[in-house]
């Protein structure tokens, strides 16, 4: 049935996840034909300026194939958002969603059978694809859009040997802590604004007889990735973005004092049996709990805090109100102090494997603010870091929160580090060792083992 379960680093593939509301809304509408559902009318109604695409020549009757990890039901808004482009140019976009995208795209590229465009969720994978020699640098129009509408950090992730390969598509924020607004109100808790306050809040909850934190890191063969996100978030907070970049690029060793301190800081939460694992068991139960189930105890009242990305919204059951005044919401995982605002996140990049005019035109469309706004209108549970995105077009409160964090001028965005590290570390040793660390291995052995796995 669900053979070939998870693909490499599919965590980031979750980028396109939608919130519970949309997920079931779409299911209820039924059918992915263009006539069905109210949202599509919005999409086709919002005509766009066709001028940027006419200069690619007459594209009528041409086809562009898109291959992505975004599958049912999140694919429906994706496909709908292409409509204005198809209307403008007469191009047909052939969409193929595949959960195993991240292994298959490499297989297909190596075999000489790549799609026209792939939405690649990790910078590390972009590098591997470029190394196959099949990826094509992005056209100047896309580079111009990327420069104009994105934080410079984003453009650097797909610039390899001086060539720019693709603009970001969607994005998600990982530095979030989920909580129950009702519980905070009843118990008179304040949303913390510094790491010290977060600690104090956790202690206060313990004093109130609660186990404040809950977590789950089981995720098929990707088990362990949520811990790596924790560690990255703390690396970013304790040492700042510059050291974070050095750590990711291995300019400083993985078993240096920075890693050790970050792991230990995470350990003061996740390996603290006073803090975890609310509603799920002891510290070890973190390792056996599916990441999808990790935050659900908040709804049961057996847990108060859960650190997980914005896409986690999709895991709450049907009918859960996700809003500041609802059943559940999230706050920004605070920085060390108010002077900085590091943001850990992820997203996917549009990488082309063909340089036909229609492919270039479509790439340009996807990097435009027009597309971002159309996409925002037809979907919920979707955010972009495109500065041209008007947050008012977003439907969900959690999306607005995420967009607000991403587009905050003070924010220092950094892409998920394990997605950038070499695969032997970023999607193997780091996950495995982090899991062993949760089940009892000490920090020194853990960081030493990861350092050992780094390809020479």
């Amino acid at each position: 049935m669900f053979g070939q379960p998870t693909s490499r680093r599919w965590k980031a593939a979750l980028a396109g996840t939608v919130s519970a509301g949309l997920l079931f809304g779409v299911a209820a509408c039924g059918g992915d034909d263009d006539s069905g559902g109210g949202a599509s009318t919005d999409a086709s109604a919002s005509a766009i300026d066709c001028a940027p695409y006419t200069k690619f020549g007459d594209l009528k009757g041409k086809t562009v194939s898109v291959y992505t990890s975004i599958v049912t039901p999140e694919d429906t808004p994706q496909i709908k958002s292409y409509k204005p482009f198809e209307d403008c140019t007469g191009v047909t976009v052939k969409y193929e969603g595949d959960k195993a995208f991240e292994t298959q795209i490499l297989v297909r590229a190596r075999a000489g059978n790549p799609p026209d465009i792939g939405f690649v969720p990790q910078p590390g994978l972009v590098k591997q694809l470029v190394a196959t020699g099949k990826a094509v640098p992005a056209p100047p129009e896309v580079a111009a859009n990327a420069e104009k509408y994105w934080d410079p950090a984003w453009k650097a992730y797909t610039t390899i040997d001086g060539k720019f390969y693709g603009a970001p598509l969607g994005a998600n924020v990982k530095s979030l802590v989920w909580y129950s607004p009702a519980e905070f109100k009843d118990s008179n808790y304040q949303v913390p604004t510094t790491l010290d306050e977060l600690k104090a809040l956790s202690d206060k909850m313990v004093a109130d007889g609660k186990k404040p934190w809950c977590a789950g890191i089981a995720s098929g063969d990707a088990t362990g990735w949520p811990v790596t996100d924790w560690v990255e978030d703390f690396m970013l907070r304790l040492y700042g973005p510059d050291t974070y970049d050095k750590w990711v690029n291995h300019s400083i060793p993985f078993n240096g004092p920075e890693s050790t301190a970050s792991f230990d800081a995470v350990g003061s939460y996740l390996k603290n049996d006073k803090y975890v694992n609310g509603g799920l068991g002891d510290v070890k139960s973190i390792a056996s709990t599916a990441f999808q189930d990790g935050g659900l105890p908040i709804l049961e009242g057996t847990c108060s805090l859960h650190r997980q990305a914005s896409f986690y919204a999709a895991n709450f059951p049907k009918g859960t109100k996700i809003a500041e005044d609802g059943d559940i919401f999230a706050f920004y995982l605070p920085s060390k102090d108010a002077s900085s605002k590091p943001v850990l996140g992820a997203g996917e990049f549009t990488i082309a494997f063909a340089d036909r005019p229609e492919v270039k035109a479509f790439q340009t469309y996807l990097s435009s603010p027009e597309w971002a706004n159309i996409k925002a209108k037809v979907s919920s549970g979707w955010v972009s870091a495109n500065k041209g995105l008007d947050p008012n077009n977003l439907v969900n409160p959690i999306d607005k929160l995420a967009a607000g964090i991403l587009l905050d001028p003070k924010a220092q965005f950094r892409f998920d580090g394990s997605d950038q590290m070499p695969a032997a570390v970023g999607s193997d040793a780091f996950w495995k060792q982090a899991t062993s660390w949760i089940t009892g291995q000490d920090t020194k052995t853990t960081v030493d083992n990861i350092e050992k796995a780094w390809p020479k």
């Binding site: 669900f2 997920l23 599958v71 049912t72 999140e74 595949d98 059978n113 189930d293």
Partner: protein, 305 residues
């Protein structure tokens, strides 16, 4: 070996023995320990699936908070899980995937079965140089992990301009099935008394006519049995489909559709349980329909008759 066993001559005698043996068997089963063992095994083998079946009809929240056995004290039924499985994709689409699965399966069962039967016959009853070495090589090929073959094969299919068509799946599944099929069928063929073949040869029959007139009738149940296994493996395959069916939903089988249907919702028990049942309906039906071949025995009927 079975050659130690003389073939029965009179059918009447055999029939009488059969009746007796049946009685004996019944007696044997009536021994309390034997019955107990059968019931225990049957329960162990059924309960896990049964639990999932019950769960697939329970509301999401109940699945996550109480065991499926509480269903019997507090029965709440819902079809929501099945609706979510079919609803998002639309019933018509699901039918398309079923057609694809069938179109993939039928040739992917028939082709290797015929080829393997020929090859197994050659190995079992024809003498030629290097026979044993070849047989061992083919036997050992069973262990080549399918994953190492995917990239070279895909390259080949791309250069033949076949990628994204059913042809890739037919060829790939057929190839992968051959070593085991040849090994199993060869073993069945060796069981056939050599006297039968020799007699036919003395009568002047060639290998083609022996294959059709002596082997095939005797082997029908064995072929049917292997056919069922091959059908199940192809039907449940995801890996091969994933690599070769790439390029759209036109040729994707149900397994692929269901895998993507579970979407980013990952291990949501309520969807997994319903999805699992959708995916096993066809294989179980096929087994039930063709089961009589197993009950009759792989070679038994004809050799003895």
């Amino acid at each position: 070996m079975t050659t130690a066993v003389p073939l029965p001559t009179a059918t009447a005698e055999a029939a009488a023995a059969k009746v007796k043996a049946a009685e004996v068997a019944k007696k044997k089963l009536s021994s309390p320990w034997a019955s107990f063992a059968v019931i225990v095994i049957a329960l162990l083998w059924t309960i896990p699936t049964f639990g999932l079946l019950v769960s697939s009809f329970r509301p999401e929240r109940q699945i996550k908070t109480t065991g499926w056995w509480t269903f019997f004290s507090d029965p709440t039924l819902t079809l929501d899980n099945y609706r979510s499985v079919f609803g998002a994709e639309g019933g018509v689409n699901m039918a398309d995937f079923f057609v694809n699965s069938l179109v993939i399966c039928i040739p992917a069962v028939l082709i290797p079965l015929s080829l393997a039967a020929l090859a197994a016959y050659a190995f079992a009853w024809i003498d030629f140089p290097a026979k044993n070495v070849l047989f061992l090589v083919i036997f050992a090929l069973q262990i080549v992990p399918i994953q190492v073959t995917l990239l070279p094969l895909l390259k080949l299919f791309v250069s033949w301009d076949l990628s994204g068509t059913f042809w890739t799946l037919w060829l790939a599944h057929s190839t992968f099935a051959l070593p085991l099929a040849i090994y199993l069928l060869h073993n069945f063929m060796r069981e056939i008394p050599s006297g039968l073949i020799e007699a036919a040869r003395v009568d002047g029959a060639g290998h083609v006519s022996i294959f059709f007139h002596v082997m095939l009738p005797l082997l029908t149940p064995a072929l049917a049995a292997f056919g069922i296994f091959q059908f199940l493996w192809v039907w449940n395959d995801l890996l091969v489909a994933l690599v070769f069916a790439g390029g759209g939903n036109e040729v994707a089988p149900t397994t692929l559709a269901l895998a993507n249907l579970s979407g980013t919702r990952g291990t949501a028990w309520h969807l997994l349980s319903a999805g699992a049942f959708v995916s096993i309906i066809v294989p179980v039906t096929v087994f039930l329909l063709l089961q009589r071949y197993f009950v009759r025995g792989l070679l038994a009927g004809s050799v003895k008759g």
